[in-house]
Symmetry: C2
Subunit: 380 residues, 2 copies
Amino acid sequence: MDLTGLRLAVLAPIAWPAPPPGYGPWEQIAFNIASGMRRRGLDVTLFATGNSAFEGKLASVVPVGVNEDPALNGDVYGALHIGELFRRAGEFDLIHNNFDWKPMTYALATSAPPLLTTIHGFSSPQILAAYYACARRSFFCSISDADRDPGLQYLATTYNGIDPSEFAFSDAPGEYLVFLGRFHPEKGTHLAIEIAKRAGVRLKIAAIPQDEAYFREQVAPHIDGDRVQFLGEVRREAREELLRGALALVHMTTRPERFGLTMIEAMACGTPVLVAAMGSVPEIVVDGVTGFVCATVDDAVAKVPHLAALDRRACRARVEAEFSVERMIDRYLEAYAAALAQRTPPPPTAEQLHWRKHDWWDRPMAYTDIPEKPHSLHFE
Amino acid sequence: MDLTGLRLAVLAPIAWPAPPPGYGPWEQIAFNIASGMRRRGLDVTLFATGNSAFEGKLASVVPVGVNEDPALNGDVYGALHIGELFRRAGEFDLIHNNFDWKPMTYALATSAPPLLTTIHGFSSPQILAAYYACARRSFFCSISDADRDPGLQYLATTYNGIDPSEFAFSDAPGEYLVFLGRFHPEKGTHLAIEIAKRAGVRLKIAAIPQDEAYFREQVAPHIDGDRVQFLGEVRREAREELLRGALALVHMTTRPERFGLTMIEAMACGTPVLVAAMGSVPEIVVDGVTGFVCATVDDAVAKVPHLAALDRRACRARVEAEFSVERMIDRYLEAYAAALAQRTPPPPTAEQLHWRKHDWWDRPMAYTDIPEKPHSLHFE
């Protein structure tokens, strides 16, 4: 199906501009999608913050990211942002939602064109109720095979993609490990520290605050400015340099990673990754080639001496082949064509309905930090 | 305008069923509106929780109140609840929204019939952004003249109304003061305690938790089971008995009351009120007749000995004349007729636009607990 000229609305989140100056993976991917589709000849309108730098049509109701200005209420501006897209829904042939579940509830109420939602994450078990309720109104894409919910039907897995040309390659292995992301137990900063210390290599940490108690108790005491260095949040160029100069990215999450954008950013620079064997990891990292997929902390410590021997060109090549923006765009174009052909998502299968009766807490999955199941007056 | 047969959708919040078994003023009023309009011959559909007890048409997507079941995510079910109403919007001639600002953002995106929003409260200064953005898409009613935002145009003030027949009258003044509501500094439980202690009368407190630290530090230490009694949350019948048997309701809020449903419930039983001179109070309480409007705590202490001499029949009569459901329905019918005649709310006046440029923090109002103004990157 030739989609040239297709009137596409891409809805980005508004926590940060698109692209974000620092942290902001959902905004980054929404921007990559909008830019990539524009290059392929689609008529793209990106709904994002007013300070976004998009060369195509930009539609904004909020001037800056709600995380950039504490006077802005994220709920209010999120709803106005979504409402504005659906007010204009008749101008588009397809809406690509990268703003979680809320936009689907607006689609329920309107005669908007086909809607495709990339499920960038399930923030809590309860959120599944929204996806189930809207499953006949939105098509879904997952960002890895591992991240699929068995109660939902997916059009495709559309791995996130980055522009390799934005990441300079280096063939020389660095001498430090690097941790990038947010301070949250599920991101495993504490494990990165343990591995670096036991393996006797320096660790550089660049992350944004999230779980303050975790940072105070499990991260801060180890920071000494030498063996364990804390760089704060690093912005685009510094981030790339930090990744490129590393021996490896340590990414020992304690919860299955949905995709792992940082892993492909590191690999794009030629830097291998030392990762926990969970979630999307086996889909992204070729064990022993672009990094080491580790079952335990002991395993990771044992692998550190072998990191320098990995071929950094293989890391780069893997990103170029599978995780570039252009590859992501190819995958989304196929998904768009399927959505446009079907128009309406199919009814759930018996097996999907079976899974929907269970809630997330009962799932046979490797999640380790699912909150305690609340007592329910109503559900079984 | 004869509105018999008008197809009216009334949107209730879903924290609790409508009517609520205990606390739940917004749900109670939404229920009173739906029931009252049905009695007047309108074709009413109430959107509320599935365990609501409405004799007319009930539409539900959530089985119980989200505050009744911790497994339910209020955001998710709120959005599905609102989305369902707007999905069915074409079936109605008018939508009466009692669910704050979010439904207006769905109305922006649809060709729904005229929408009337009762502003039951502004939960924070930032929320005004939503009202301003949606002011051409929804008509507004205030629940007191005092609670109007100068940046908005209102169709009417529609005081809340209760059914006096649900509150048995007693002519005999009781011997204790009563505090009803939530534990939050703005509700002034600590002032009620001070007044009762200084005046030498017993205080009975029936309230639900909200601000835990406030309760722990400023309320709990005074509870002795005798002079200061804590009854927990009291449900419908016990609540009415508690109000009826009291010398007065103490309602010394530290923030202007928007309406004050508890005041009229007390007055309906014949119980006068001892209230802070703020917000809606002068519109509701006739000073020296249905209670005392007090400028200070000292003032309130001095008034306690005079409470028993007030004519309890005057309290009841005031509610019957001004704050009954039927009186509220009369007011809303006028507002409905105005909304249906205008169809679209008028553009803002220059003065309203002037006010909208200010934010709430700059307002010359008596608010005493407005949070500190956040630093803004963007707004002045």
